[in-house]
Each structure stands twice: as C-alpha cells, then as structure tokens.
C-alpha cells in the first residue's frame, strides 16, 4: 500500500490537505485532512452575553464573517422571539450579497482562474491576463465596499446586531451600491462564459441541501423534496485524521454550495441570472463538483442584480434606521444562512439573562467534507497512472478548490 500525500492545499482558505491511498495499483481511499488547529468557538461563546456573540462568531472566518454574524444574530433573535421589520431584513440580505461578491470574486478570479490559464497564482497570471484579474479585483472591492458599509468593516465589522444595526447606510452609500452593481454586471456576465469552459471534475452528489430562501431561511431543503431542521436528518461524526467533523444527510453523502443552490432554487433568480442559468442548465445538471465554479459565476450576476433591486427599494421607501427592542429570555433558536460556500447553521440556547448556555455551529465546509473525499476518490481513480505525480496532485487540488473550502470555519463543529 502506498499513499500520495497532498501536503497542503494551496489557493484555499486555511490549512488542509489530502491523502490518496493506493493498494495493488488501484485507488482505495481518499482522506481529506484538516490540520488547521481547533478553535473552540462554541466554548468561547458559552456564558457570554448575547449582544457580544455575533462579533465573536464573525471571527470564525474572515472571508465569510458576515454570514457568521448574520446567522448568529438570526439564531439569537429566534431564541428571544424577536421579529425584525422588512428594512432590517433587506439590509442583512444586502450584507450577505456583499459577502457573496467579495468571496466569489476572490475564489473565481484569484484562486480558480490561475488553473484555467495554467499559472501558480493571479499575480503571475496578471502579466498576460491582467484584464481578467482586474475585473475580479473590481468586483471583490465592490463586495468589500458593501461589507464595510453594512457590516462596519471589510473584515470583522461589528455593525450587525441583534435587533438591527449600529449604523444605517446613508442615501449616498445606497446610491453608490445601486449604480455600481449595475455597472459591474458586464464583468460578471463575462465570467460566466469563462468558467463555463472548465472541464468536469470530481463526483456527483446524491443529495443537494440548501436553505429555503435564496440567501437565508427558516429551514433547510433537500433535493428529495424534504424541508427540515438540520438535526432531523443530518448526522455528524468525528474522524481520527481531521479537526473537522463529517456530516451525512439521511446517512448519505451530500453537497451544499452554489451548485446545489442553483439546482434547488433556480426559480428564485433575478432575470439575467435566470436566463444564464437556463442557458447552462443542461450542463449544470450533470452535477460534477467543478460546475460549482460556473454556478458561482452565475451567482455573481444574481447578487449584483439583487443588490441593485434592494438598494433601489431602500431608496424608494427611505431608511428609517430604527432598531427593534431585544428582550432576553430563556429560549432556543437556529439561524440558517447561505454562506458563499454553502448552508451555515448557528444554533443557540439562552438563559433568562440572555447568556449563551448551548451553542452548535455547522459550517458548509464541514457539510461538504464527505463529498470532498468522494470527489477526490473518483477523480483519483480516473487519473491515477495517467499522469505524473505533480500533475495528479494539481488535479486533486483543483477538485478540492471547486468546493471553495473554508478550512478555518470547519474546525469547530460541536454540540455542547
């Protein structure tokens, strides 16, 4: 028995690698190893006052800090029975849109595009394909502008609060968001063409899972038609070779992310994104995980269109900027949000003083862990013996990268 070690995935967030086990000349097993150290977030928030919790949870991940703070706020509000008005819901959605733009642009243009053009990174790629890199950076910077405006800072802002926001956006800021999202559509549409050309890689998931609304929700939905709370059908297990736990849906491997979102919720898309989705639907329904990149490109179009819609709506009605009072009570609540890389869950119980007594967080990369192993296994089976070891490792990395893994997020999945 021999092993091919992918020592550390590059061009992904965090520290992880893989081991492909070969026995008698055949690929026997693929293990995804997460060696980013444990971060014990659920212990960190235990006993903490609810008001400070979203700021702490944001620190789980820099690429998707707002997904965490919004999921956290929603879980806490549900535990207290707090309902927020449309304005706050729209602004939170806008915050998540900023995160999608920043994260998808980072992933597609700076991390994946170098694979399509055969470079080690985007800086080296920029010498010949500077325009593409620049378009990506422009979308990413715009996403960060929204993150800063609504979230309070590009990374780890603390403006998203239970009951509302610390500060509300001005008319000028909303106008800028409305105008820029229109202007950047051209770039986003071009990216769809670029990523539609990527080869099929990895496995096909038996089930897809997503939240019931496009960017957040009240429940999870699955491709077998089920609508459920995560604990009803998703089970977790610990692995001896990884700091991330693995999840199964009804005992089977499943996938979360852009591709599952499009396939489950394609009818919720905005007009141009919907047309692009229809154009590529046949290809996307082939289900290979590398199509997650194309799905993300279509989502760039969706989020830009939706940002324009939301900014327009808020400008028309005027931003009142009023927070809802939050009365702590003993309770339990779950926040379901679509992080850029897939469904994310924050589940809390609180005491009557508003302190956290129980916390469970499951991140998309933890959900996808089993699917990533399956994909590496299938791809390795196809490729082993067909190419040099360095090319083989490169292909394996491309498969892992298609999940847009966020390893920092995945290392603290826990029930207490």
């Amino acid at each position: 028995m021999v092993s091919i070690e992918i020592e550390a995935f590059t061009r992904v967030e965090g520290n992880g690698g893989a081991e492909i086990v070969i026995e008698n000349g055949h690929v026997k097993e693929a293990k995804v190893k997460i060696f980013e150290g444990p971060r014990f977030f659920e212990l960190l928030t235990l006993g903490r006052h609810y008001y400070d919790v979203p700021d702490l949870e944001a620190r789980i991940c820099a690429i998707c800090y707002l997904s965490h703070s919004v999921a956290s706020v929603m879980g806490i509000e549900r535990a207290f029975g707090v309902e927020v008005p449309e304005e706050i819901k729209l602004l939170r959605e806008l915050a998540l849109i900023g995160e999608f733009l920043e994260s998808h642009a980072l992933h597609l243009y700076l991390l994946v595009a170098p694979d399509l053009f055969g470079y080690a990174d985007a800086i080296r790629m920029a010498h010949k394909h500077g325009e593409i890199v620049k378009e990506g950076i422009t979308i990413k910077a715009f996403g960060n502008y929204i993150r800063e405006t609504i979230g309070g800072r590009e990374i780890h802002g603390i403006n998203v609060k239970p009951g509302g926001f610390g500060r509300y956006p001005t008319v000028e800021e909303l106008e800028k968001i409305e105008k820029n999202s229109e202007a950047l559509l051209t770039f986003a549409k071009r990216s769809v063409g670029l990523f539609a050309s990527q080869e099929f890689l990895g496995a096909r998931a038996k089930y897809y899972v997503a939240t019931d609304n496009y960017l957040y929700g009240n429940k999870l939905i699955a491709s077998d038609g089920e609508s459920f709370d995560y604990f009803e059908h998703i089970e977790e297990r610990s692995l001896p070779y990884s700091f991330a736990k693995q999840s199964l849906y009804k005992g089977e491997v499943f996938m979360v992310g852009a591709l599952p979102r499009l396939m489950l919720k394609g009818d919720m898309l905005t007009p141009i994104a919907k047309r692009l989705f229809e154009d590529h639907k046949e290809k996307l329904s082939r289900g290979y995980v590398s199509l997650n990149n194309l799905a993300q490109a279509i989502e760039l179009v969706y989020t830009l269109e939706r940002a324009k819609e939301i900014a327009g709506m808020l400008l028309d009605r005027g931003v009142k900027g009023e927070n809802v009072p939050v009365e702590p009570r003993e309770g339990e609540g779950i926040g379901y949000v679509e992080a850029p890389r897939g469904a994310l869950i924050h589940h809390y119980r609180t005491d009557d003083k508003g302190r956290i007594t129980y916390s469970n967080i499951i991140t998309p990369t933890a959900f996808n862990h089993a699917m990533m192993e399956l994909s590496l296994h299938e791809e390795a089976r196809k490729r082993y013996g067909e190419m040099s070891e360095s090319e083989f490792i490169q292909k394996m990395e491309e498969v892992a990268r298609a999940f847009d893994p966020c390893i920092s997020c995945s290392v603290h999945v826990v029930k207490l």
Binding site: G37, R39, G47, D121, N159
Partner: protein
C-alpha cells in the same frame, strides 16, 4: 528584490486575506518583494532564506509550531501579524486544558492531530515587529513592508483607540451613551472604526502596553451596571491571560 514569505498558522484567514485586499497596492509590494510562499494566494513555493517572514495565527498544533520555527530560522525579519499572532486572540482566550477542550468538542481526549493550547507566536519565538488587530488596518502592513524595503525601521504605535476617536470627532459612546467601550485601554491604529458605527470598541487590537488604566475602566463599567464576570470576559476576549488591575 527582497524575499517575502507569508505563513498562516491557526486563524480565521483574515490577516492573510487582508494582504490580498491591498488590491493595486499589492502590485506595488511585488515591485520590492518576491513572494516565495503564500499558500492562500499561490501554489508557488520555494524554500529559500527570506528577508521578511509574515506569520499570522496562533500556535494551536504541533504543525503550527514547526512551521513557526521554520519561518523564524529562515528569515531575517519576522512580523507577527494580527492579534492571534501577537496576543492569542479569540481562540487563545478559551480557558481550559487542551485535552478537556478536545473532549468537549470531539468527544474524546485522544489527540492524534497533536493539538496544543492556543498561544500567540510571541510566546515561542522572538519577533522583530508585532502588528496587532483583528484584523489590522491593511494600510498598516503596506506601510510596514514599504518601510522595511526602504531600510527604515517601522514605527510602533503606542496610543489608545480613544486618540483616533477624538481625532475623528466621534461622540464618546462610553461617556455619552453608557455603551461598554474598551477604547481607553486598547491599542490604537484601527482609526476607531467600530465607534464610527456608534458601537463600543471590543478590544480587538489587544491591551495598550503602558499608561493604560484597566482598573479605572473596570470601575467605570461597574458603575454603568455591568457585572464583574461580564467585564472580565470582555477584557479577556482577545488577549490571553489575566489583565492585571
């Protein structure tokens, strides 16, 4: 050309990501620096002696520790970047023995992945420059790298967040609104960005090393009606160990 390596230990990825958020300025950086290692951004990696090593994150595993030692022994100038690296940040603040924490999270005391109690890199190696912040302001790392490229020792900040708050003419949230704000005892450099949102500083750049009066802050928060446990937890969020007051 100076040789630069970026090494990520256990963290949220933000301190490495923030370097990418320099956008066009990153192209200025690469005029002076050849990037030899930066695994979040590049598949290119070359083992070489480095002029400057940037290390982010806490030492939370044996692997982190080995990577840190490698970075230290292969570099002339080492920058501890971000509050994880300088103070331990949020994971460093989680109390308890590592095996007990592992048992609570993974259901077993077994430690096959060799996890360590999370500590800042400053507890293991000497660092040439410490730039805290969760995250730091991205222009700070740009300035530090440019200073080094020009042979100038980058200046160290030594003032509280309050100074920047006053310069921006923000209303004092602690005095005027009674919001718990750690600005008076927290190292500045963030341009008081959270106070800009009308919110209290949560102390993400770690405690101000000297001239701060945490005991005074503690009393003020108590007078505002916050209980001692709440205040203690708030003080310790980003900095490992007890603050002495």
């Amino acid at each position: 050309m100076l040789k630069l390596g970026v090494f990520e230990l256990t963290d949220c990825g933000g301190c490495a990501l923030n370097i990418l958020f320099l956008y066009e300025k990153l192209f200025d950086v690469v005029k002076f620096y050849e990037i030899k290692e930066f695994h979040m951004a590049s598949s290119f990696k070359e083992h070489d002696h480095l002029d400057v090593a940037i290390v982010t994150g806490t030492v939370s595993t044996q692997r982190d520790l080995e990577l840190l030692k490698h970075a230290r022994s292969h570099s002339n100038y080492l920058i501890a970047l971000g509050t994880c690296a300088t103070h331990g940040s949020v994971q460093g603040g989680v109390e308890g023995k590592i095996r007990e924490k592992l048992e609570k999270v993974y259901g077993t005391k077994a430690n096959p992945m060799k996890a360590l109690d999370s500590k800042p890199i400053t507890e293991y190696v000497a660092v040439d420059y410490a730039l805290p912040g969760c995250p730091y302001d991205k222009d700070e790392i740009y300035q530090v790298l440019m200073n080094i490229a020009n042979g100038v020792e980058p200046p160290k900040k030594d003032y509280p967040v309050c100074i920047e708050c006053k310069l921006n003419e923000y209303e004092c949230v602690l005095v005027k609104k009674g919001i718990p704000c750690l600005g008076p005892i927290t190292l500045g450099g963030c341009n008081a960005i959270c106070v800009k949102s009308g919110l209290g500083c949560i102390g993400c750049r770690g405690p101000l090393p000297k001239d701060a009066n945490p005991a005074g802050e503690f009393e003020i928060l108590k007078e505002l009606g916050y209980d001692e446990e709440y205040i203690r937890k708030k003080f310790k969020t980003f900095a490992r160990g007890e603050l002495r007051w």
